[in-house]
Symmetry: C2
Subunit: 396 residues, 2 copies
C-alpha cells in the first residue's frame, strides 16, 4: 500500500476527542484570562450555572482540570475507604477502569462483570447487593464507549437505592448524547468530561456530587487526595464570585462556555433527538451492509455504534485504511475487540453527513479488503432514515 497522503482532507470521527464547532475553536484561541479576575469569573459563573441542566441535577457540578479519568478518580478517592466493600460494574474498557481505580484505592472490591458488550442487569446488581449488604458504593457506566452499549442507569439507581448504596456513574461519553436525569433517577455522583458530546477539547472534567455523597466524602479514613478533593473544589466554586482552588485550564473553560451556549440554543431535547437519529441511521447503514452490531445495543445506544467487522477480512486494517487512504480517523476496537469492530461515533458535533461519510468510506474499505459490497447500500439505508425523519437534520 502506498504511504498515506498528508494532504488528504481530514475527518475526525472518533468518540473522543470529537470534532468541535468553529466557534469553540475560536474560543480556544482567545488570550488566556487571569483565573481570579472578573472577566474569567463571569465566564466561570455562567458555565457553573449552565452545567447542572446537562446532568439533570440541582447539584453543584465540580470542575477539574483533568481528563475524564481524573474525575472518575475523584469519585473513588473521595468515596472509597481502604478495606471497605464496594461494587464495581464493568462490561467494557471503561467499566474496567472503575475496577482498576478501586483496586488502586484499596477497596474490598466486589465485581460485576457480565462480559464486554453485555448490558448491566439491574436485577443482578440488586442480587449482588443483597449478598453483600455492607457495600456502600456502587460504580457503573452510562455509555460504555468501548462497546457502544448504553446502560440502564435509572434501573441500576433503583437497585442501589434499595440497598442504601451510593451510586457513582461515569457518563463521560454519554453526557449530552443520551438521556441523563441524575436527580430524578437518584444518582449520587456523575462524572463527565469535556471532549465528547460537550464539543470541547479534552482537558476538563466534572463531578456532579449530591450532598449525601459530599457527606460520605467528608468521613475520615480515606486515602490521600488534594487536587481531586471534592470539598476543596466545592468550597471554592460556592464563593461569590465563584473561584477554583487551582489554576483551571482557562481556555477550555471559555470554550465550554461557548459550547454550552450552542447546546442551549439547539435545545438539549433536540440535541438528544439528533443523537438518536444519527444512531438509527448508523444502525440502518450497518444492517444494510449485512453487518451485525456488537453486543446488546438497544434504542438507548445513541453515543457510538459498534459494528462487527466481517470475520473474513483483516479487521485491524479497516481503521488504518480509513485513515491513511481516506483521511478518516475512526475508532476500531480496544483490547479484546481489536480488529473485531469499527465504532462509528455520533456523540457531540456530528451531523447526518458525518454518518454518511463514514458509511461510504466503510463501504470503500470493505470492498478493497475483498468483502462483497454494493456501493451505496449502507449510505442509502442511512439516507432513508434521515428522509423518513422528515426534519431538517443538523449537519457538521
Amino acid at each position: 500500500m502506498e504511504p498515506p497522503n498528508p494532504y488528504i482532507k481530514k475527518y475526525l470521527m472518533t468518540a473522543g476527542p470529537t470534532p468541535i464547532p468553529p466557534q469553540v475553536s475560536q474560543a480556544m484561541a482567545e488570550p488566556p484570562l487571569y483565573h481570579r479576575g472578573p472577566a474569567f469569573q463571569e465566564i466561570l459563573r455562567r458555565v457553573l450555572g449552565r452545567l447542572p441542566a446537562m446532568f439533570g441535577t440541582d447539584n453543584d457540578v465540580l470542575m477539574f482540570g483533568a481528563a475524564g479519568t481524573g474525575a472518575m478518580e475523584s469519585a473513588v478517592a473521595n468515596l472509597v475507604r481502604p478495606g471497605e466493600p464496594v461494587l464495581a460494574c464493568a462490561a467494557g474498557k471503561f467499566g474496567d477502569r472503575w475496577i482498576e481505580l478501586c483496586e488502586a484505592y484499596g477497596a474490598e472490591l466486589w465485581r460485576y462483570e457480565p462480559g464486554w458488550g453485555r448490558r448491566l442487569d439491574a436485577g443482578e446488581i440488586d442480587r449482588l447487593l443483597t449478598e453483600q449488604p455492607d457495600v456502600r458504593v456502587v460504580f457503573a457506566t452510562l455509555s460504555e464507549t468501548s462497546t457502544g452499549i448504553v446502560h440502564d442507569i435509572q434501573a441500576i439507581a433503583e437497585s442501589a437505592r434499595a440497598h442504601g448504596a451510593i451510586l457513582a456513574v461515569d457518563v463521560i461519553s454519554g453526557l449530552g448524547a443520551t438521556e441523563l436525569r441524575q436527580d430524578e433517577w437518584g444518582v449520587d455522583v456523575v462524572v463527565a468530561g469535556s471532549q465528547k458530546a460537550l464539543m470541547c477539547p479534552p482537558g476538563l472534567s466534572f463531578a456532579s456530587v449530591s450532598e449525601r455523597a459530599l457527606e460520605h466524602a467528608a468521613e475520615p479514613g480515606g486515602m490521600g487526595r488534594y487536587y481531586l478533593d471534592w470539598a476543596r473544589t466545592a468550597k471554592a466554586q460556592r464563593k461569590d464570585p465563584p473561584n477554583s482552588p487551582f489554576t483551571p485550564p482557562v481556555n477550555i473553560v471559555r470554550a465550554l462556555d461557548v459550547a454550552l451556549g450552542l447546546i442551549e440554543d439547539e435545545g438539549l431535547d433536540q440535541v438528544l433527538a439528533r443523537h438518536d437519529l444519527l444512531a438509527r441511521a448508523a444502525r440502518a447503514g450497518a444492517g444494510a451492509l449485512g453487518l451485525d452490531l456488537y453486543g446488546d445495543p438497544d434504542e438507548r445506544s445513541t453515543v457510538v455504534t459498534a459494528i462487527e467487522l466481517p470475520a473474513t477480512i483483516d479487521g485491524g486494517k479497516v481503521p488504518k485504511l480509513l485513515r491513511d487512504r481516506y483521511g478518516i480517523t475512526a475508532n476500531g476496537g480496544q483490547e479484546q475487540l481489536k480488529g473485531r469492530i469499527l465504532r462509528i461515533a455520533h456523540c457531540g458535533y456530528f451531523g447526518a453527513f458525518d454518518i454518511l461519510t463514514t458509511l461510504s468510506a466503510l463501504e470503500l474499505v470493505l470492498s478493497e479488503l475483498g468483502h462483497d459490497v454494493e456501493m451505496g447500500t449502507g449510505v442509502g439505508a442511512a439516507q432513508q432514515v434521515f428522509l423518513e425523519a422528515g426534519v431538517p437534520v443538523p449537519s457538521a
Copy 2:
C-alpha cells in the same frame, strides 16, 4: 470611582496564566487530533524530545493533563508513604502547598519555614536532615511566585544528597525563566506547568523524574494513585510511538510544541538572559520610585519582581485600579501579603515594553492614590537598564 471601561485595551501581566505568543494561540484553535493517531504521536514525540533540555535533564519528562498542583501532587503521591518522615521547605504560598500535600498523604511531616519572603538556607536544611536522619524526601521550591524569591536549589540539592534524601522541587514558575540544571545539580524530581515561562495556557503539567525516584515510587505502601501514577505514565510515554495513558489535552500539547519551538529558536540561554534583563529593569524601576523589593531577592530573582507598596496608601487598591482604570491585570499579594505588595511578572512571553507599561501604570496609580511620584521616574530607570544592555530587546 467610575465603573471599569469594558472596551479598554487589556494587558495580562500576571505570573500565570501568562500572555502567550500569537503562534501558540493559533495552535490552540487547531482541530483536536485523535490522541492515538500518527499526527498527534508525531507532535507528542517532538514535545517529549524537546522537554528534557528545558529541565537540564536526561530523564523522561512525564506529562499530566492537570494544573501544576497536579504534578506537585504526583510527587507526593508517588514518593510519600504514610507515617514516613519527609521535610517540606516553605517560604511562601507555594511552599505551603507542599506542606498541605504532605499532610493530605499522611507523611510524618517536618517543616522548614524561615518565613515568607526569606530565602531557603541550604545549611539549615543540612542541619534539619542531620537531626532527622530518617527523612527520605525533601520538598522545595525553585521560584516562589508569591514572594518573587528564587531559591538556591543547587545548594539545597547538595544538602539533600549528603543525607541520601530524594529532593523534589516545584519549578512551576521558574522553568524557562531562571537557571535549572536538574542533572548537574542532582535533583531527583522536578515538577512544572505549561502556563508560565513555557508560554502556553494552563492545563498541562510535568514531572521530570530520575530513575532513583521511579524506584522509590515503586516501593509498596503508598496511598492510592492512578491518574498521577508515574510508572503508568512512564510506561506509556516510553512506547514507540509514544503514548499517554489517558486522553491528554491535545490542543495544549500542540500549543506547547509551538512554544518549545519558539524557545529553541530564541535559544534557552538567550531566553534566560532576557528574563534576567527584564528583572533588572523592573528592580531599577521600583528602586527609582523609592519602593523596596519584598523579602530577600537577589540576582536569581528573574521570574517575578515583588515590590513593597508604600504603607501610606491603600495597597489593595493598586491591582484593582491597574485593572479597572488601565486594563492591566497584575498580581497583588496573596494571603498575608494582600495589599502589601505588587508583583511585576516577567516569566514567559514578556518583553521590555511590558515592564515599561507596568511601571508607567504603577506610577499613574500611585499618584492617584496620593503617593508622591514624578511621572516617568521608574520608567526612565528601567529604560536606562535596557539602554545599557546594548542589545536588541525582544518585546511582546
